[in-house]
Subunit: 249 residues, 2 copies
Amino acid sequence: MSEKQAGGRGIQSIEVGGALLQALAAAGRPLALKDLALAAGMTAAKAHPYLVSFSRLGLVEQTSEGAPYALGPFARSLGLISLQQDAPLQRASAELAGLAQALDMTVGLATWTEQGPIVLRVAEPPGPVHLSLKLGAVLSLSQSASGQVLSAAIGWDGVAALWQRAEPTLTEAEVKARLAAVRRQGWARSDESLVPGVSALAVALGTLGATPLRLAFVALAPREWMDARLPGVVQALQQAAQRCAPAAS
Amino acid sequence: MSEKQAGGRGIQSIEVGGALLQALAAAGRPLALKDLALAAGMTAAKAHPYLVSFSRLGLVEQTSEGAPYALGPFARSLGLISLQQDAPLQRASAELAGLAQALDMTVGLATWTEQGPIVLRVAEPPGPVHLSLKLGAVLSLSQSASGQVLSAAIGWDGVAALWQRAEPTLTEAEVKARLAAVRRQGWARSDESLVPGVSALAVALGTLGATPLRLAFVALAPREWMDARLPGVVQALQQAAQRCAPAAS
């Protein structure tokens, strides 16, 4: 989360409790009360009544009394409903099949989460043999093409916590320099990070007003094939990205 | 949300604020401050500071000052992360391709949200011509096979609010009788509710301890084809559902 201060007076306990949801989302797995409280910077005694209320709402759940806290069914509903409401996402999904056909490559749509980029949609080319991309997979923040272009699009403030956890040996200046280079170039490529011999090329979808769309197109191909067709693939992804963003409302 | 009282002392403002998130999720579209406050049963003046804090967390967002409130990027993250953590869902997804191949039908996986059943995964049969099911589509609560089996699996307390909104002319007793009939039968079928001449058959995935899994398999076929193969389709979906649930942890 960025530290942006939305205007006006808030409710302190919403923000205190929200830190528990953020910590649970960032962990990416169920956490015991004491670990969850620690991750959110509070005591277990302070965290517990918030978790009782979140359980009543369905935002968190335990499979049994004393079991670790997981995200609950209402958390899933919020996500699915927000995906449906997202106009740029609907437009980007509609571009995917055409991109896969035109490039004769597997093309995916990745989105940003508290854990890093996640594969949200996949379209495969018409031929009998093609590379695959797993729906719901979490991609590497620093090694995947999607991780790099999404980080560059969102900017340091929005990605700092995740980078510091994933790449503790990199300094803030080093990461900022890498992201600035990706932003100038307008695309990122990764070789070998998924499968030996396979290249991925990603382009971020731009912004809606001042807000980055947190979506990226990614194309997959054998490395030699990507080498030979790089400018055409970049251009096709960038043109599709431009078609998705401008009419956003 | 059911009114289940998770044990222990909660935080009142989490539950007051949670009503705003529930109202926004149930609406399924962005809402202006006054409409959102009304839907949650509070005044705009009371709702506003909660929304300020939810905006800081990224649970809600506005495209500009004064614009309607939509679910925000952190709401999306929560949903995607909870989907990844869900062991029964991962097992059910792994069954889909085999079901589509064995039945030679399009098979989908629907899940329950505050708006009703949503199509979460789809697998298509190998042949060149097949029916399709749209990822992310919201299915009818009362007319779709998935809506009926999921409502029956979750039970009246968990679905009452949605049924009362979707089918205001049905009494509680009428809905309960329909759900009890579906529960006894173990599957539901809908004809014509999606496309004329097309039948859908759905089976819910059972429970994890006392908690319904909120997932259903659905198979699609032309009506005559479904008529001819009904027992085999029911059996295949029920066997796949049984493979998903028991090892749940």
